[in-house]
Symmetry: C2
Subunit: 144 residues, 2 copies
């Protein structure tokens, strides 16, 4: 089972992990790492290393879900991924975390990274537009 680590500014990672566990129950190998207001790169790196699998362990990889590309959580995660089998996906949201939990037992790290990215992009849409289109179809519409 691939370990999952949510890495963000502030308490966002902790709350994402807490919220997903309200929905699907407590999960093993699911971690949050938060960059608090007065912390820097070294603090975050230390906290991340404390939850990542030790090199040579099985599995030794992990999927890191970070809040946004270019921020310290993303930069520190990417730096660590140069020397360890980690994949870093940006823009974490709740559907991505649910997707990762659902498929991590039977996926390779690469396949999971692709599934989770794809799910993230598909999970973002204008719900009013979706309902309008659905309503038009159900009324029979006029072929538009």
């Amino acid at each position: 089972m691939i370990p999952l680590v949510v890495v963000t500014h502030g308490g966002l990672a902790k709350e994402l992990v807490h919220t997903v566990q309200i929905i699907v129950g407590t999960q093993p190998a699911l971690f949050s790492v938060c960059l608090e207001e007065r912390e820097g790169i070294e603090d975050l790196q230390r906290k991340l290393l404390a939850v990542l699998p030790a090199p040579g362990s099985d599995p030794d990889g992990a999927l890191l879900l970070v809040d946004m590309f270019g921020g310290t959580p993303s930069n520190v995660s990417l730096a660590l991924s140069q020397s360890r089998p980690l994949r870093v996906i940006t823009g974490v949201n709740l559907p991505m975390l649910l997707e990762a939990l659902t498929h991590r037992a039977e996926s390779t790290l690469s396949a999971l990274a692709e599934l989770v990215s794809e799910k993230g992009r598909r999970s973002v849409f204008d719900a009013n537009e979706l309902l309008d289109r659905k309503g038009n179809r159900e009324e029979g519409g006029c072929g538009r």
Copy 2:
């Protein structure tokens, strides 16, 4: 300026709003509404109505950013959007909230809904793949 409301399960909304304010400072007309563990549809509806603009006020619309399509936060938001000028975008993440804050002063509600959805989808990607492609280009690559 278009009001923004983040609506989620658990404390996720509160933490998204807190985190974005660490990054860009305190913002007016930015609200979080959280569905706590023992709360139901009516609790959430009441909390949402408490922060939404009163009908007939200026502006009377708002952009609602919800955690995922099909959950109670999304369902309650969509139900309210049938009788008020609200737009509901699913899959909220930090880049979407930053985008909404950046553009809400000069956008219409429809334009903002589109900008924020588009930003959400673009913000989710495999950062290792991006760096690999960039690395290949910078090395001159071999045209692949």
